[in-house]
Every structure is written in structure tokens, then in C-alpha cells.
Symmetry: C2
Subunit: 414 residues, 2 copies
Amino acid sequence: MPINANFRGIPSAYLFGEVNDRVRRYEAEHPDSKVLKLGVGDVTRPLAPAIIEALHKAVEEQAHAETFRGYGNEFGYDFLREAIAQGEYASIGVDVEASEVFIGDGAKTDMANAQELFTEQATVAVTDPVYPIYVDANALAGRIGTFENDRWNGLTYLDCTVENGFQAPLPKQPVEIIYLCSPNNPMGAVLTREELEEWVAYAKAHGAVILYDVAYRAFIQGDEIPRSIYEIEGADEVAIEFGSFSKTAGFTGLRCSWSVVPKKLVIDGVSLHDGWARRQATKYNGTPYIVQRAAEAVYSPEGREQIEQDIEYYRRNAKLLKEAVQNAGIEAVGGDHSPYIWFRCPGDMSSWEFFDLLLEDAQVVGTPGEGFGPAGAGYFRLSAFNSYEVTLEASKRLAEVFAKLTTREVSLER
Amino acid sequence: MPINANFRGIPSAYLFGEVNDRVRRYEAEHPDSKVLKLGVGDVTRPLAPAIIEALHKAVEEQAHAETFRGYGNEFGYDFLREAIAQGEYASIGVDVEASEVFIGDGAKTDMANAQELFTEQATVAVTDPVYPIYVDANALAGRIGTFENDRWNGLTYLDCTVENGFQAPLPKQPVEIIYLCSPNNPMGAVLTREELEEWVAYAKAHGAVILYDVAYRAFIQGDEIPRSIYEIEGADEVAIEFGSFSKTAGFTGLRCSWSVVPKKLVIDGVSLHDGWARRQATKYNGTPYIVQRAAEAVYSPEGREQIEQDIEYYRRNAKLLKEAVQNAGIEAVGGDHSPYIWFRCPGDMSSWEFFDLLLEDAQVVGTPGEGFGPAGAGYFRLSAFNSYEVTLEASKRLAEVFAKLTTREVSLER
């Protein structure tokens, strides 16, 4: 039979689909309710003026034969690859060549496609909880066995618990592909320099490749926390890094991302840089020209300033939410270097029980932790991506619900 | 070893990369020359006013919180899926539901990804010559064996020759995936209703799936030639169709495409519609909102009229080129329902010999037929995608070169 049966092996709908379904159902039954959505991590601030200006300008170029641009380089225009090499790497003292930067249409796409660089037999480790795409992309490729008892039997799970500070422990058995994300989705935790050094050393010792997701790096504050894995010596021999304009600059509807595949990244004599170049040239036709011009504008002086204001706006929301949770005696992580707050559901409720209760009693939507993996069961994620007004109202409603629910402290421990 | 070695098994660079390299080299050595590019099939007309207007309007929506749009549906916005169902299908009497239409970022991407629906063991047939992406995507997936003596030993080639009117014959051995393209790239030939009926009957009889590429359908004239495979009864049980705004509406730099996966397309009890939906939800995050609004504008009354003018413009170019070839006594196909002209190189030259001669003697760039597969050896493709002025000048230069080269008729036959 010629059909890829892996498409049938994946359980249930994608997490956010289920969240949206439940919300839609509630709204249909309660047409007058005002549901406050802190579930899906989607930005709400409009695009910054510098980006809008760049878009209008690029659209106008496309209106005239003299300035019209058709097919671009599949890897992206040099102006943007250069801007990223400078703005994301040289700016933090990291040496990345423009030719090592590949422009994509989203970190989700790039990270789902990166597994194509490996054989079907390659062994994979993910954190648990985890951004579901890392797992699902490997499941579709038939790389991680079958799904039984809430886990894929061919996948190595690295449990993130309160004991290890919600940081993934090194794998107990050798693995060849490791997905890491810092600042982390969904837990909002960050990898310190020392922790990242351990991961790079592990990868070197075991011939593993780290797929490193920095979609939330714009939320990192101060100079202690690494913004790129390439801040660690030797990481360019073991890691591919994935960045995105979605959460940094509000590109969730505009779609632009980048991946860095260092030329030094050679495994078993095969250059992953050349492999990725071949993959992209064969299966991608480049990010829209006008979108690449928009992304370039993120690095202009005005762009930078406007983007930073938006990040500050979401940071203030995160602070509000974290306080609402903590003031109710519920321990929480995240929110400092991340737009996400992570805590244990009060009253020993399951994630979906708490999701439903919050929706019913407070008309607030969050994301059930178990949607990110079994180690997320009993936990909950709140997102700072909404307007200040909505977040303020949500934090008040949360306080009321918590007041009814919690009579004692809720630690992060299960 | 964990690395996908298929990336190393693919011979040479992608065709258009090699073309571009030779042109760049020539231009570097002859900085004063004016090279006329009829090689890569890239449009040159600017985007139509209706599209530009839609883009500016959508960009402005993204500038204000009240109208800002973040993540969209991975399958595309309903407004565009509906516009395509109406504008491309209902308009020709074909019943396609909006929910069967998936919006993508390019037919190249969609067609390269579609093979993921099948197992690694599924058998594949392509025409020869062929758009190289169909082959390379399957090569990267390890589905078509190894490359030896100019062909993949696990791939079925359907030779398109003058004897069969450059139309692929039915496969001699059973295959499970068949790539077809009409109007055809590179040969410019079209499948008639009768021929398409044979293909659908073949697919039904053998449980095969046809991946049908209609990227050039806007060039079809009159009512005889099918514009969609779904004009054939029962095709919705055996075919996926791929369309694009690139050649129709000048979107090569803007990036928008669609695929139709009918709900009736069920193979071995597996719904390919559900499989593709799962694939796209997992590995894609949707086409930019502003680009989808631009694509929607293609179906407005003004949009339609402007687009048709652009197509007419390129048709006039195609006519000029075909005449230049035919007037020199060289038989040619294509150009009528297609922007491409296909002919045999005069003087029994190889494709690359003729490519180099044309570049050296006339500073005209075409595409060597053998770049599309071994059956294309000795043939050449000219593209109508350039300005009228460039095409006129190129046709004069071609006439001069041909006059020097051909002392007798050149038939399409080898």
C-alpha cells in the first residue's frame, strides 16, 4: 500500500485546534460572554510603523517594471541575510556569516523540515513538556515509533520538573537529534550559559546535533542568559539555530523566520549546511520579497526602538499575570525572559479540568499543560500576548477564581 | 550514521543554478554586453494595479490593532479558498468545495511536499523531459533508487518524443504516483480531454494517484483543452491538482499557490484530504495574510481584466519567438497554450552546446532541454516571460544566428 500511514498514527487534533474548538463551542452557547484569550501565543499589537512603511515601499516597487522583483534566491535576499548576521549575531559578539543564514517563512516550518536532514533511524530527544511540532514532524516521518500510553515508544523524553528547575536533563541513553528551546515554550524557563555548555559538550561527545529554537529570544533581559547557542564555544560544530520574527516583531500573520546552519557543522563527513541548502533550493522558492523588506526594517534604528516598545508592552502583561497567579499563593515560573507563565493547576485539577473551569467561571482561555506532553499534565500556561486592557481584566478574573479555589499554597511540585 | 545521505546522491546543481552560473560568468567577462534572458520562466510584468491596491489595503489593516491579523488558518483564509473554488472551478463547471482547496506559498513547495503522503516504497512515474522538482523531491526522500547513466534506477520515465506528440505514454509497468503537467513545462504541449480521460482511467484501474500541475493553465486558449483534471469524470477519486498565481498573475516574488485534495480521494481506506490537512497543519503556518488578499484581488472584475492583459502580453512574445524559430525552418511546439517554445537544436548540437553558442554569439539565454531529463537532450526551451522589447530584439538575434547555422529544415525528430 503506497500511502504513508504515519498520518494516521498521530493521536488527536493539534493542541490549539482542540483549545479553539472548546472556545468556539462556549462562545456559541454564550453569545453575550466576553471571552479573554490568553491561550494561543499569538501577538495582538499591530505591525510597527517602520515595518508598515517598508511594506508599502516594497509593494510600490512591485508595481513598476523597473523595480519589480520576481523569483528571489531560495535562501533569501542578501540584504536580509546580512541584516540578521549583523543584527542578531555580530551585535552579541557572535560570528555568523550571511551565507550561513537561510530565510524561511516560519520557525514552525523550518523546524518541522529540519528533520529531513536525518535518516529515518536517527534517534531523537525532546523535552517534556514540549512544543508539539518537534514531535509531530518526526512522527509523520516515521522516526519515533508508535504512540502508546501517552508517549511515542521510539522517542526519548527529557522530563522537565520542578526538581530540575524545568530544565531538561541530559539524555540517559545516547541520542542523535536534540530539540531545545530557550526561552522555553511552554514553560518560560531559560537555559543558562553553564547549562548550554553542558549540552554542547554532550553533543560533541555523542555526535549529536542540537536543533535550537530561539523564537522567544527578544524577551531575554540582561546579559547573563545566552541569546544564541553560538555564544557557546564550539556550538557551530553541533547546532542549527532557528529564529523568528513572529514573537519579536509581530510577524505571526506576515511570516518570516531564519535558520543558521554553520559551515563547520559536518557530521560523518556530510555538511549539513550543504544539505539544508539543497533541501531549500529543491523544496522552497523563497520568502516573499515584500516580507523580507519588512523583516529588514526590524533592524533599522526606528524599527528596533518600536519593536522594543512592543516587547516591553508584552512584558508588562506577563508581569501582571504572574502577579495574579503568585498573589493567590500559586508558585509560577516564566514571565521574566518569556511571554509565558507556567504553574500547577490549583486543587489538583487536571489541565483540561482547569481549562474548562477557567473558561466557564471566568471566561479566560489558557493552554492546558498536558497538551505539551505528559509531563505537562496538571500544569497550565498563560500567554502575555494580548492587549494590556484584556490582560488586566483577565488578571482580575483570575484573582477571583483563585480566591474561590485555593485555600492553601500551590507549589509547582506535583 | 544519522545523516540523510540522499542529499549527496543528487547529481549536479539544480538546472537553473547552472544556467545562472554560466550567464554570470559570461557577463563578468563581457561587462558591456546586453544579455537577453529567456531562460528561467520568471515573469517581468509588474503586479497588476488591482493586486497592488489590495496589498496596500491589507498592509494598512496590519498597521492598526482593530484590523491586525496574526496567525491565520494553516489551510488559508476562507475568502481565498472560496474565491479559488469559484474563480478557478465553478467558472469552468467543476464542483470543488472551498474546504478542498489548500493555500500554499508556491506550486514548487506544494508539489515537492505532496510526496510525503506516500511511503518510501511507492512507485513513481514522471514524463521525460520533466520539471526537475518532481524528481528531486522524490530523490531526497529516497524513493527512486540511485542515479546512474543519467537516470534514477527506481523511477519510471515516460518518454515524450515527436512520435507521441510530446505527450507522455501510459506506463508499461504499474506505478502508484504519476506527475503530469498541462500545459507542460518545458515542452509547452497540452493534454487533450481524450488523453486526460485515459490517464484517469489508468489511475482508477491501477490504484494510482495523479499529481496534476496546472501552473500554466492561464495560457490555455479556447474551450477544447481542459483547464483542470477535474473536468474529467471521476478524476476527484484519483487526482490532486496544484495551481499557482506565479505565472498567471506575476506572483513569482509574492508567492501564493493552491492545491486541491478532493474529499473523495481515498486510497486503501486512507483519506488523502485528511492526510494533507494533517501535513499542512503540522508543517506549515499559512501564507501571509497580505499575500492572500493580493491573490483574492486576482478574481475581482478589474483584477481579471488586468491579468488577462498580462497573459496576452506574454502570448504575443511567445508568438514572436515561435515565428523566429519556425521562419528559420526549425519545427517547434508550444507557445499556443503555453509561454514556452520547444525545438530541436540546429546542427545536431547538444543542448548545452547550443546554449553556449546562443549566449556567445547572440547574448540570448534559453534553457537546455537536457536539464529537464535525458529525453530533452538536443532540445531547447525559450520562455516568453520578458518584455516585448527584449523579446523582439531576441527574436531578431535568433533569426541571425539561425541563418548562419541552418542550411536545411530542422525537424523535431531526432
